[in-house]
Subunit: 356 residues, 2 copies
Amino acid sequence: MLSVSDVRQALSQVVDPELGKDIVSLGMVREVNVAEDVVRITIALTTMQCPLKQQIVDDVRARVASLNGAPEVQVTLTEMTPEERARLAGGKDRKQEGMAAHLNQVRHVLAIMSGKGGVGKSLVTSLLAAELRRRDLRVGILDADITGPSIPKMFGLTERPQSTPIGISPVLSRTGIRVMSVNLLLPREDEAVIWRGPLIAGAIKQFWGDVFWATLDYLLVDLPPGTADAPLTVMQSLPLNGILLVTSPQDLASMVVRKAANMAAHLEVPILGIVENMSYAVCPRCGQRYEVFGQSHAFDMAMLLGVPLLARIPLDPSLSALADEGRIEDCRLDGFAQAVDELLQRVPEKATVPRF
Amino acid sequence: MLSVSDVRQALSQVVDPELGKDIVSLGMVREVNVAEDVVRITIALTTMQCPLKQQIVDDVRARVASLNGAPEVQVTLTEMTPEERARLAGGKDRKQEGMAAHLNQVRHVLAIMSGKGGVGKSLVTSLLAAELRRRDLRVGILDADITGPSIPKMFGLTERPQSTPIGISPVLSRTGIRVMSVNLLLPREDEAVIWRGPLIAGAIKQFWGDVFWATLDYLLVDLPPGTADAPLTVMQSLPLNGILLVTSPQDLASMVVRKAANMAAHLEVPILGIVENMSYAVCPRCGQRYEVFGQSHAFDMAMLLGVPLLARIPLDPSLSALADEGRIEDCRLDGFAQAVDELLQRVPEKATVPRF
């Protein structure tokens, strides 16, 4: 009987006449199912209106039929989502894949992680980037939260990244931070990116290898919640100098953040420090400072992990407003500059070795 | 040259002598790499102390060597994580896989979703379950947030689910809510579940098909943030009656929640209503009510989606405290019972058809 890889091998000979590449590398082959008497193949077209679709289907049939012992071939057609098309378009323009990676000089890569969602990873990433930029350092942000990206909104960015012969150019923020996020590639910011793990991992690797970051003193990687595909891909395939953990005072958050810390330990990436967000609120009428999410556990967690608690960020409506208005670079928090000093002192020169 | 699937095929003949199943279905084959002159195979043992490991390695070598044109075989051993072992043990004890699914009678399945993390999905799921239980309905919670599960902590559950001949028994909360969560299976609650998408999808399907929920009026599925593997698996493989969207007043949250709504529309699952969490705070000293995260967009979003805004939950330290102490069932929020009335009226009898 034929194996799936035999069929895939045959399909990699089928070239999309419009895009000039084979349908396997274009990600158009969705499913290959080999049964006793029939081979079922699902092909995703860029559009159902594709004028050349019959040509592709005929070519697919012919290639598979030419295999030894090939049974009946059934081809099902489906359509790519707009995001998939957007990625493909990005890929089509590039001349040499992965070329950017060879030309980039990224001195330090820091991942911002929490395990739990909504504790303020993107806020901390943005504040850190803004502070580093104020020191005239060259800073980039790789938004690895593919299905829930917040970075462009924090900086008020809507421009589309441009393709260059070397790679995709990140979008520049007002103060000159280089930003790459899936939201900059979507036709509408609220479009859902309904991708399973392998596509997400692929996008992250592309944001590293196919984006022309040029020379950066710091690349900050904003991770999504959880300990699944995206954080795993970042930890395994990027040369990380360390991780900054973000937590909130909720007991629940601290449990999930400890999961993230355990993952980092497991993958041998050093944790450099902790930032607690939403630590306390200040009543706008009477000035009372109080703990909205209960008592903080950040200091205990820092002790447990043997790292410093670098900063505690209050829950402040004016901070939320700046984030919502895309003016996060205008924000200067008390004590945050010192926290960044302490963090920078702890960044090791040596990074982990990526396992691409 | 050999193909990877040829090698996998050969490996599926290797039976773990202790577990009595082949190493491929046991998920022990981690990597198969076929190069010109060498085949590299990584096998994950349940434990490195496995007394039969040499036997497994010898068998692997022999099976691959027997293939036509087989080059040198290199076998690398690694160890399963405790969670993987736990899942394997779960699988081993069960007599008939998926038997529970045939005996369960789940009348309605509701997914609680937000796209964005930390807006309070688990809180809303728990409050809803507690309210339904107060009405003497039979309620279950399937915690689909595999890498950041919060449900057991909200209910103060630490007991391990028991295996029965029919399936895994969910753990009962104090008021009798049936709960299944990956955290109940872990040796320590802060252990990280470092799984890629397919394992996560597998766990969710198992929580549906291999858990003996028995008769339930409502099964609530607490989804993780994002629009990747877990929500996709739930929407594709469970018969959903509808989705309850959870949001927070942040502009950022509303953008990501709209992504979730677009995903639901794309997969044709009806949205039944919106609950806004952290809508406002009340100063504990002066009683001032103020908007911590800025002005609410929940009503506009509800209008946009054509669904009711069912409830607005304040940011209340006493609520956080109940959640952290595992006493969420003691919480009674003003107006929440009416919100549940309205939600229940909107639950359609017909569910989506799962595409297992």
